[in-house]
Symmetry: C3
Amino acid sequence: MKKTVYNPKALVAPIGHFDRAVRLGDWLFISGTSALTNVSGPMSQRQLVSGIEAQTRETLNNIETVLKDAGGTLENVYEIRVILKSREDFPVVDRILRDRMPKRGFIAHGYEGTLLHPQMELEIEANAYLGPTES
Amino acid sequence: MKKTVYNPKALVAPIGHFDRAVRLGDWLFISGTSALTNVSGPMSQRQLVSGIEAQTRETLNNIETVLKDAGGTLENVYEIRVILKSREDFPVVDRILRDRMPKRGFIAHGYEGTLLHPQMELEIEANAYLGPTES
Amino acid sequence: MKKTVYNPKALVAPIGHFDRAVRLGDWLFISGTSALTNVSGPMSQRQLVSGIEAQTRETLNNIETVLKDAGGTLENVYEIRVILKSREDFPVVDRILRDRMPKRGFIAHGYEGTLLHPQMELEIEANAYLGPTES
């Protein structure tokens, strides 16, 4: 099976020793992504866009950038895990998912968590299947 | 590869814009499931069965309902992730898993987390393989 | 597809009703692993090695033991999820990952969480692909 790693130039380098995405055959696994993923500089000095709505949109844009690099789109995503600083924000995230991934076709997990950077309002893990599908 | 989504009528609709389960080939990925998964009404007004034992059993019943819809059983599950409101409850969950999935054949991850609904004592994520297996 | 479970004798039995690892075809899924995974005795009485550095190394050694049992190495790992008691410890974990998995080829997720045993500083979930790969 072919294994390929993706670290798109349109984003910054991962904040640690890992790859942004790994493709095995037609399966694409993407590292936890946030509004931090496209901001450069030492971790503690990065300034993120403010608010759950802006951060959710930025996060999905960053996931889309990874998918594009691997030849896919958000429609290829079949699983997301949303870690929220505050569970009260779930309806906002849900509304934006509806907007950005209107056809659905994915499962979701969600809960509160303390994320690595204090300004992060959420992080989204996403897995995608890039091969042809019939339904 | 064939892609199919499952939103069993025996459960209520997902609380957000996602599917209850997605099947890709013989792999079945199930959204985080809880005792909330079969209770209808606006999120904040749903009344859940009370206590870790009842919620664990209800959660596994709900996962079983999804699996049945996709042509499988709890024996097809190869991975679970248990998010507990209180880690003190782990032995209860473990006892019920022993009862409901006696043959094992699955890995498990577990930790405490703050779940989306205040009455939720636990949520279980489950992945299953529905194709034939030899061992 | 062939399904095999792994519970290496070089480690102690899992603390609950689950298997240490499950292999489906060439995919290997490993239960959340920690410095607890090779210490025997009742959960509450187990004494873990102390400090994030020692626990991270012990955890990776334990994951390596599982992989070896299944015919693999740390180079087969394509995904890790690191749950940390304190996010301040992330740089230490990152440094050790760099040391132990120098070629990268994996994605990573990380956040703070309350783990099942009070002495646990971290837990790592790992998935591996054991078949041949080309890049």
